[in-house]
Amino acid sequence: MLGIWDEWNLFSAVAMVLASVPLLIMLYASVRGHEGTVLCMQCQQCVAVCPVRAEQPGKYMGPLGIEVMSRSGTKKRAEEGGLFSCTSCMSCVEACPRGLNVKHDMDRFRASLAKEGLGQMEPHKHIVHMASTYGNVFDKEPSKLPDITTQKNGIIKFLTGYAKITKYDDFKVGEDKGDN
């Protein structure tokens, strides 16, 4: 038979173990740089506004999934849940009543997946390669900005299109048109 004092000690020990679970989760998440995720209370406000989730409700895990999985570090499931499908629109950030920066958590979680060869598709690898090699994500040429005078033909093409939609019927390059 346990005495009242022993029962109290047992109760305290159990309570201490239970109370330390969230702290351990917080510690684990914070060691991995995902400390913000522990504040998520799974209210689903973010899910309601996510445009990707609206398109792929059964496939995409949504911002809530990003928070929960980045907290627990379940990378393979995050890859399958479409972590790289997020458009980073930040609707979830705006909707979160606790002000969690889901985009930041998503970016960091993507990086931790990519380090293990998960989630990244060829276009993502291409973007990283281009930016680190050529200083931009489009052209394989020296990283200096293109001289605008070399883009004259392209600019004229764009401006001709703009003229049509702004009802600038007599727009011509090289001439001063339109009366005030």
Partner: protein, 266 residues
Amino acid sequence: MTTRVTKPAIKSRTAKEWGRFVLYEGCTMPRRMVGSRYTTRFVLDKYNFDYLSLDDAKCCGAPVMRSGAEEESIKCRLYNLDLVKKEGVDQIVTACPGCGSQLKTEEAEKMGIHVYHLLEVLYDLAKNKELFQQAHMRPIPKLKITAHFPCHMHRGMLIDAHKMHEAIVTAFPNLEYIEMEDPDKCCGAGGGVRASQKELSYAIRRRKLECAEATGADIVLAACPFCELQIDEGLRTETKSGKRAITPQSLIAMFFRDIGEEVGKL
């Protein structure tokens, strides 16, 4: 840890009060959307802003971050901020919200660098009644204008897109501003999704096109070169309305009588 900067923008400034700033052009505008690149510079010149563009500027790192390379992305950001600092300038203006939201961080604030979107510059001109230049502009045509609020501008850079678009459009006679339903809903291009998952990107875009179409507007403003590309392509290929998407600076630039002459001088 969050890196978002939530300080409100300072009060309206004239072109002179803006002082010197670096025009950060990013990747999309100077390499793909060259029309907007030109009109950005054209508009800044027309309103006598003191700016410089840095030839050595590189990718801001935003698409790199979305592609799963956080460390590389931060290096890109710091490289560009250092470049600006070396020029002795403490302001960056960009017409790309993706770049703006990538650069407008606590790191920039610590370096004493303030990052703005071009829309804030145009808004100041509108507030100071300098935007409509009757003497230099052709008669403004009757146009109905709606606007998409780019995610990284509205939520990333925390800019009041509604207030600014409305003020800029209504600064001109004959222009009518019509707000679309869900103006701040994503166009589907960001996060590397347009590059990696076209179908998903286009499916998200469809909703944006429906909202834009429902307004009956002639023009959809997209204050982001990547959103401009995405929405304009959608309007041309998926609708028969003849509507187009352009950046606000392109709309304004086309009102100047001498734009054709000026582009001819390039």
